[in-house]
């Protein structure tokens, strides 16, 4: 597509890079929410993006998804990318399997959707209406819809934010497994430090419209949240986010 080549969000292969952002600026009514931001994500890398509410995480994610092109700067992303939002955003008028196939080129078979649904443990719900799914199931269906596109970049905007604690743990584990199996790059926006340390290769903290801090997580997988190094990383990041962990413990 011509717009893809000449537009601000350009899709072209960059060796071993899944995302390349340089000098990205996005303003709302003259107020820059993202201000000359740099970001690189390697192929197959799992990056978590933390930051206080309203710091522009979703804005950045929408830009990378190509949904917001009112930008300045360079943004390079793979052609094949997929998004899962905080709300599942399934079309209520389409059965689950049709939701999964929505927007795929050509005339994909139902079996394609069923395979993707089975991968997220929803094989039995292909024929269900979205209104009959629980919150966790709907979120997994939304994940299946993203994965069926075989993305090179998976963008997740607080996908577990609205889930209850137990469902969230399961969903986190699922995303970790799917990522290891698919090998796509993931950018996970979250407000949960523990989730970030649990899943990511690298944790970024966003503040003042830029990536203010970067933390590599070198722990072996699967990760153990009782590991003292885990707690240390978590405490360090919390401090970066302005939460005093010592006061919290007292």
């Amino acid at each position: 597509m011509a717009t893809d080549v000449h537009g601000p969000v350009t899709a072209q292969p960059v060796t071993s890079q899944a995302v390349r952002v340089e000098g990205l600026t996005r303003s709302f009514d003259g107020r820059p929410v993202i201000d000359r931001l740099q970001l690189d994500v390697r192929q197959g890398e799992f990056v978590a993006l933390l930051g206080r509410s309203g710091c522009g995480k979703s804005t950045l994610l929408r830009i990378l998804a190509g949904l917001d092109r009112d930008i300045e700067g360079t943004v390079l992303v793979p052609r094949r990318k997929a998004v899962a939002f905080q709300a599942p955003r399934l079309m209520p008028w389409k059965k689950v399997w049709r939701n999964v196939l929505l927007g795929l080129p050509g005339k994909p078979e139902r079996a394609v959707a069923e395979r993707a649904l089975a991968e997220v443990g929803l094989g039995d719900h292909a024929d269900a209406w979205p209104k009959t799914l629980s919150g966790g199931e709907a979120q997994r269906a939304s994940l299946a819809r993203a994965l069926v596109r075989e993305p090179d970049l998976l963008l997740l905007d607080e996908p577990f934010g609205a889930l209850d604690a137990l469902t969230r743990i399961k969903a986190q584990r699922l995303v970790g497994e799917l990522w290891q199996r698919r090998g796509c790059a993931v950018l996970l926006v979250t407000h949960d430090v523990e989730e970030a340390v649990l899943l990511a290769d690298r944790v970024l903290v966003m503040d003042d419209g830029v990536i203010a801090h970067e933390q590599h997580i070198d722990l072996d997988r699967p990760r153990d949240i009782t590991d003292p190094r885990f707690a240390e990383l978590r405490a360090g990041l919390l401090e970066r986010l302005g939460v005093d962990t010592a006061a919290e413990a007292a």
Binding site: R62, A65, L67, A82, R89, M91, W93, P105, W129
Partner: protein, 301 residues
Amino acid sequence: MSISHAPPGSSEPDISRISTSKAGPDARPDDHAPLDLVPLVPTSSRRTRVPRWLRRTTGPLVLLALWQLLSSTGVLTSDVLASPGRIAHVGWDLIDSGSLTSAMATSLQRVAIGLLLGTVIGTGLALVSGLFRIGEDLVDAPVQMLRTVPFVGLIPLFIIWFGIGEAPKVAIITLGVTFPLYLNVYAGIRGVDSQLIEAGESLGLSRWGLVRHVVLPGALPNAMTGLRYSLGIAWLALVFAEQINADAGIGFLMVQARDFLQTDVIVVCLIVYAFLGLLADFVVRTLERLLLQWRPTFTGR
């Protein structure tokens, strides 16, 4: 005793009883008053055993019986309102002679054509102004202006323009149907959740794909509401259109009956109108049930 923290209603001995039963700060009262437990009745047993259709038909049947009673006791004379028995008889005669069926066919055809034209025009205009900003600027203002003109008032003008054949009758119905459909479809399109549009965009849907898979299905509930309004107005428009120099149709039968003071025939015609209206409503309800089963909305108890 002028300074008291007890509520004005509480009496002296009651307070002292509580204070004695609570020996210390963490002593638990062991003399729990038995709670009044209420059984929660399951819906299956709460539901009355009378089937729904029977409950729904009871009201009209009672009214009918009352009417018959008033007629046979002479309270309601036949030149005011004929009795149900008489009406049934006249209705049967009219069907038997074929005049009612042919009148119904004529009227139904008028409504069908008017409805079809109105639906096409109303929906078409709503799509143009709902989907495109430029369409909104060009279409919405004139439609909103025309909407305020009472369409029945245009009958004389339509007779001058279209003569006295079928055209003015169909035109009145078309006009009546167009506006409610336009308004509802337009509101439906503009009411589609922008988050879903964005999700569709992120899935790579083209502009037409977005319209087809997101915007139109999202507007469907409103469109169905519009269709129901339109149907109601279509019958109304039909009655008006047929009262004015018709030579066939249910309205024509009624005008004739009025000239001969046949209240029984008039009532038969009214019943036919009502019956056709009910039938149309039933069709739309069925359509809604089939097309809108995905809706996670309250469906009544």
